[in-house]
Symmetry: D2
Subunit: 333 residues, 4 copies
């Protein structure tokens, strides 16, 4: 008999990917999946890729999650806190939303409004010491997808003192599943295919999380919507702060990590190689003209950027092997 | 200690997908992977999605495959026969190429040229009685991707006598990975994105295989290259030959099948739902204007259309559970 | 001083393409463009591709169109009739909707509901005699995009008696702009990219128009949504009814036509070559296995399938050169 | 009788776009188009989008261009100089390659090798005073596509003293037609669709041109290949050097320009809106966290980034209206 898990908010893209991962997981038994407007629907009407899975979506209420030992919350920002407060203390919870990521209430209130609900253990196992904290927690705030991509590229360089935490410049392009599954004209295929489109330029709500997680003190981030369903490619540039080869620092930081791969010198990460996987690919160099450190980071926003990361955290919280039920290998082409 | 497997021709797209499936398979141990021009390269230089896998491609020669209990051949058409002839009799072989699929030498010679090498057990387990034949064989000719898509849609209707085997009309669109990994101008992204392009209209080399496997006696097939990396969508129309609901016939034919799903009435297959999986999705209706039976079939040309199907056959040949190491669920979006 | 033209329903994709064509037309002066929910918006807020054009969208009312000599209606099906009834008799009108295409009220009522408003001159100039009828009309019903694609492929073969009008089988794939600009989950880029998705299988509302225009008496049509913004590729198969080379018949039918091109033998139409143009590309052969005639037809659903066709008709109705303001050449890649 | 023009190197993507523009130009008569390996082919075999154009490609030799008053060179880098030296002095030439762009031989030799052939008038009419220089020249070096995109965003800000020329950071993503039409595995649709892929990170050959044209003294540029056929989106960030609103500076710099559009505040450029046009769209803001100026620039790499720009220069060189034969409006969706 395995560990009983449930997904609250299973009708979106991250929820669908969680269902795919959990149904293939050797130790997790999926006992419930909930939705809001899709409550009552068969799961395959919402996620046709799960044809063969017999499961009906329940309404998102505490009672629907009562049988679970561990609950994944894949809800719109601001809804996790209310639901989490109604779950028994013994239930482990991984929140894929932003509600519990920030330690500082000020940027939280500025970008999301309302009351700052609190701060949970940050769910990025590859940060120093974080794996142990996650394993000891029963409440974990999963990283955001941009924050995971950028922090994995940047944090070791700042920590090692070879990149200045000030004046970091990031351009990060995301596939459309990162924008969610709501019907909006600007997300229609007719608008997106053949198009690159920046958004929230100059003020993105994920910058505080990225700074908190990476150690950056000043960071310009420009997000771009790219014509592909999955994947984030972040180009992170920073001013050198000391001697040292950035690639070597990254390689040392992630030696032995199953899901973070510093590519051989000369090969650059690209998003398709990470699709469907829980891996992040990294490469770094120093720009010949400007002298800036340039790190490129790629991952699947629904994998290592959301559902895969959440399962990795859940494995740690459950005392299971960290890689269980996850693949390091992408589905390509 | 598991079953030792090798992949000959591992540098193409089907080869890469085989490596992904085999490295995640609980009972198969990948002991060798070979290539032609890429011999000597590290596997991740050829398949960046496998970052983390430490494997060097050998040259495609019998010696490189000598340690294997079971060999997958993912070679260009015409090259399997020569290599297979040099493998020990005790070695099980699954050929993903076309060399051993046809029983009739005439169309073989007409479309492929050269000598017809022979006929192996046809690797489509869902055909009646075929599962048992595969399990008893040590040489299996995997289906072609178009043949798998169309045969699964058509064979039960012809066998049940409700669709005429004559005058079948098929239009089948395939993602670009079906066209292989050779550098050709017409396969460049600039040419393919935003484009639908028919090819080999009026005379396609896979028609004899489709007729042999499905029972059709006259079949017009128009293949179309579609702007997506994976997936085949086949629209199969046939003249009714007797009473009967085509959807009910398909549902009965595939009851209990783990990888063939007749969708609930009113829902139609689409390729993205099958990407990365070993599933085929089917639906059928009768056209109100023409009275023709219309069946739509979707699968992943690299999954159920190639590598997944091959692993399914290999499981059967090895006495393992047929579904081992395969997923019925697609990676979507 | 040119001919004053207006576009009613300018906020959709066909409306936007009309604006692009009309602003570049040497003899048409765009005096008004109207919209429903976007009334009052600057045109560039709705169509960013028109940056530099200073125009505000009016509300769709007769008064907004009062200054026009010629009005294009690009409204949802069912709304053209009401508006057209309120326009002065002297105003020429081209309706891009379906309201006035069908001669037979029965299929109209069956597929669209409500009352059949009437029948206008059918706007496909390449049909025999139709060019002259259009030039003499002040009310023209533009072809539907599927009907244009399929009729241009099929009508000459049926008229010449070499293709049977019975048992025509069509599979036609369309880019997403053909599905309109309404925000729907199934049209989101995340759902569409990498996907081929059939819809309205077995009963499509455009079949009666296609039969009326092409002369087919029985026609199975399966439409497929393809992952590209523009373009339709129709594969049309028919049973031969007499001797004759289908390609030669098409070549003769379209000799001298500026916008219909029968490609050199052996070259097949593909959609990208027609993007942004008013051209339709055709090719035909006889299938070696089934003996069926196979015709492939490609055009831009917003060009020859909608806005370009409408401008071509408007040129004829205005006594201008038929090709004025239109390009036969596609924007590729 | 118009001005006789020829295109040397007409088989590539920029060459094809030149043919499309020139055949629609009111004053230019296309008298010859040449190619290398495609010499002797009918133009529609190479560019199917030009169906209806009757033209055979000649071999790229001076004799083939002898009838032209004005020659466009769309040749691989390094081949323009040799051919240009053989053209009569009276023939006007626009070179779309890199041979004559750089004033400084050192970076030329470093990135391209061989001998620096010389420096022609730089073909970016919107730079102050440049329009007049182009009009007075019979040899013009067209901008590179990245250089056009980035220079239009950056030059006015540096010239106005509100952006520091040092420490400019650029990430620029390009559609695949920018990578040319050679058959390469990494440009196959299977590899590119669903993928973002950086290349030449840390040392790109276009950086010297961008610095020369924009006035930047230190510039980090990371190019990214994006899954779309056309378009460049450049995110340009710079450190403020003085007071001033960057958007206002751009608006003033481009007031009255027909092809450079600073969008209304709050609306951001995206590539699809510029496809098929000769326009560049711009927007600027100041990042709230870092204080950096952020400018986003979008254009069609084959339009304002290559062929359109070349026609604009040719118009100026020929004493024609600068906008003749060019469209400011994009083909979207």
């Amino acid at each position: 008999m395995g560990i009983r898990v449930a997904v609250a908010g299973a009708s979106g893209y991250a929820g669908g990917e969680l269902l795919r991962l959990l149904t293939g997981h050797p130790e997790f038994d999926l006992v419930a999946a909930t939705a809001h407007s899709q409550a009552g629907a068969h799961v395959t009407a919402v996620h046709p890729q799960l044809a063969g899975l017999d499961l009906t979506l329940s309404a998102t209420e505490p009672a629907a999650l009562a049988d679970a030992d561990l609950v994944f919350l894949a809800l719109p920002h601001g809804q996790s806190a209310a639901l989490a407060a109604q779950l028994p203390a013994g239930v482990r919870v991984v929140d894929l939303g932003a509600d519990f990521r920030l330690r500082d209430p000020e940027p939280w209130v500025r970008y999301y409004g309302g009351t700052h609900a609190g701060t949970w253990t940050y769910g990025l196992p590859e940060l120093p010491g974080q794996r142990e904290l996650i394993a000891a927690s029963d409440r974990v705030a999963n990283t955001g997808c941009y924050a995971a991509t950028i922090t994995l590229a940047l944090a070791p360089l700042i920590a090692a003192g070879i990149a200045s935490p000030a004046d970091v410049v990031v351009v990060a392009a995301s596939g459309t599943s990162g924008a969610g599954r709501s019907a909006k004209v600007n997300l229609l295929a007719s608008e997106v295919m053949g198009d690159l489109s920046p958004y929230k330029v100059g003020a993105h709500q994920h910058v505080p999380e990225i700074k908190q997680a990476s150690g950056a003190t000043s960071l310009s981030m420009t997000p771009v919507l790219a014509p592909m369903p999955r994947g984030i490619l972040a180009t992170v540039t920073a001013v050198p702060a000391g001697e040292g080869d950035p690639r070597a620092v990254l390689e040392q930081a992630y030696a032995g990590e199953p899901f973070v791969h510093v590519l051989p010198a000369g090969r650059w990460p690209h998003t398709a190689a990470t699709a469907g996987s829980n891996s992040c690919h990294l490469q770094a160099t120093v720009d010949v003209d400007s002298g800036r450190i340039v790190v490129v980071s790629a991952l699947d926003n629904l994998g290592k950027g959301a559902a895969g990361q959440a399962v990795q955290c859940a494995n740690l919280m459950s005392g299971l092997p960290e890689t269980m039920g996850l693949s390091a290998y992408g589905v390509a082409p």
